[in-house]
Subunit: 410 residues, 2 copies
Amino acid sequence: MKAVILSIGQELVAGQTVDTNSAYLSRLLASRGIETLEHRTVGDDRELIAGAIADSIKLVPLVIVTGGLGPTEDDLTRFALGDVMEADLVCDELALEQIKGIFVRLDRRMTESNRVQAMIPRGARALPNRLGTAPGIHARVGGADIYIMPGVPSEMKEMFAICVEPHLPSGEGVLVHRILHTFGAGESDIGARIADLMSRDSNPLVGTTVAEGMVSIRVIAKSATMDGAEAIWRDVSSEIRRRLGPLVVGQDDETMSSVVGRLLRQRGETLASAESCTGGMMGQMVTAVPGSSEYYLGGIVSYSNDAKMRMLNVPADVLAQHGAVSEEVARLMACNCREALGSTWALSITGIAGPGGGTEQKPVGLVYAALAGPDGTSVERFVMPGERDIVRLRSALGALNALRLRLIGA
Amino acid sequence: MKAVILSIGQELVAGQTVDTNSAYLSRLLASRGIETLEHRTVGDDRELIAGAIADSIKLVPLVIVTGGLGPTEDDLTRFALGDVMEADLVCDELALEQIKGIFVRLDRRMTESNRVQAMIPRGARALPNRLGTAPGIHARVGGADIYIMPGVPSEMKEMFAICVEPHLPSGEGVLVHRILHTFGAGESDIGARIADLMSRDSNPLVGTTVAEGMVSIRVIAKSATMDGAEAIWRDVSSEIRRRLGPLVVGQDDETMSSVVGRLLRQRGETLASAESCTGGMMGQMVTAVPGSSEYYLGGIVSYSNDAKMRMLNVPADVLAQHGAVSEEVARLMACNCREALGSTWALSITGIAGPGGGTEQKPVGLVYAALAGPDGTSVERFVMPGERDIVRLRSALGALNALRLRLIGA
């Protein structure tokens, strides 16, 4: 079973947006044993879109399309599909009701242009969209299945899971894609420790990537059956975990925050945060996890010295003597935050994210992170490479990692 | 002048790597007045690569290819080009010397497999690669120029700048790409207001996209000269700004936070934040802007009711009577935060981000945002569609937008 994935959008073909949908869809198709032959991206041009769809259905029995389903003049995918099917567009009443329902729910007025989103080629069927106003479309043309979904990644992912994936045929073999996320060592260091597992034509195929401040190890295990592929994955992942120990944070959808959250929940403990240079990023990361209110009490963003004094009782003379970016201030921030919020643990971060504010003695990238807990307070000093965004991201991850290591007793 | 960009690689079509080269190349081509019609990605399959090259040279006079030039079994682009040219491969002695030189420089032994990298179709020419062992290839086939470069982004970028860009036709004109970012109206509403500017074959070309919680209006202005293109852009952008008024937040690299920061800095005023469901996201967004310490004092993440009482003096009976997600609590959070931090302005957010926690009366997506300032406190109520991440993002943007509107007197 083979597939082609088409992406529609002028912003994609002009290079203003990088297409991530196609890679996402390829991975999911592969996990069902379906091989993607081609990704193809065209702009908002009815003839080009129709041409790409027509080419694809000649090549493969499964064509997945994203984008061009919006309500404006430049959203032309539905018309192009109509051209390929040689069918006129008709209003799908159920889809129209769903669109109207979304506007009622949002308490907003539906514009006339949204009506076009309920128009689909005669002979095709609409796919419901719970998250937005653009229904998807499924059609069977010339022996091929065509699924068209919105380009907005969250809407596409939900629609794929609900309306497309359950109807896909199962292929001959099974590929299992899994990822182990690590923190605390560089990509070349991780690579060196598992070099013998990374040869190109082996099964499983093992590779590394850096993403979101962490080094991830990608594994693709191939077998005739799901059980076989899972067994291969289990063997290699336990070998990797044996070699890397506590550097391995989690797997697949797990994040630093979700792992820390799980550990806190298991122990019935709570967390608070005191942030300076990260400005709320650590709190945001912790609360990105649904249900985090069970263990995260809250935090203080003491961005200015005044806020450090007012909100966290850091004495003015400590700030004057050691500076805001210092072990002493990090320690006081964590201790006093823990006391103020009454949490089991408190994490603090103070540092110089750049691009300005660095000195010879305190360069850009210098960060102190403190962890206050029932058995005292520890402070770590980091010097992070990279730009402002990366320094902030690694600081937040580094602080959370300190708590993770304490909670697993590493 | 139009172009097609091809990417070759099994890791791309399998979704293990996201192709960023094509977007990069499209942007550079556009700046030279060359429009990209299509991006196309195929795996390591000689026939598919040859087919994609053959299709492209029929369509456009410029074909840019990246990837598949490595030394291993699965690097097949050179052979596919030979198939299209109906030419056998010959060793380019100059390219071979360059490859040997790289191994000497790295003090590594050259493997026999690297020799193949000096093989190019008869009638094509090699393009030097200063950074790696894969020379590029240029060929002229059927009236079209084909440039093939390595897939490694750093090698591709250097080779493009040195070997490709100087030889590109100067196009008949210049394309200027600009983006206006809006907030506060849906894509269909924005589209309806500028529908007459969005017709397909006009100059400038105007389109809309939703990204990062905002609706962006993309403009591509085309002219023989940069001055001409800039003049077209100025005309259309002032027309859009006239129609949309304060819905337009900023342009190009500007963000909601950077615009709010600029306004605060101009007025010498300060900001503090009190966040519940966003958990620090608003503070993180504000402090993502370098130099934000000039106007952002800090904030309180009052995620739990206990934190709302302890840190923001929200009375227990107000929480009990109205609930944490209420106009009253939002108002108290903003007022008391402003007082606690001594800022000119304070923004608060309290809401239900989901997926759990919703009720009939207070559904997931219900958010209150308050703005406290020198002349009192106002509260806005939103019902946001979408998942947890999107609800949080739109909440933070919505709160910052309330401040922006107040600061510009809208």
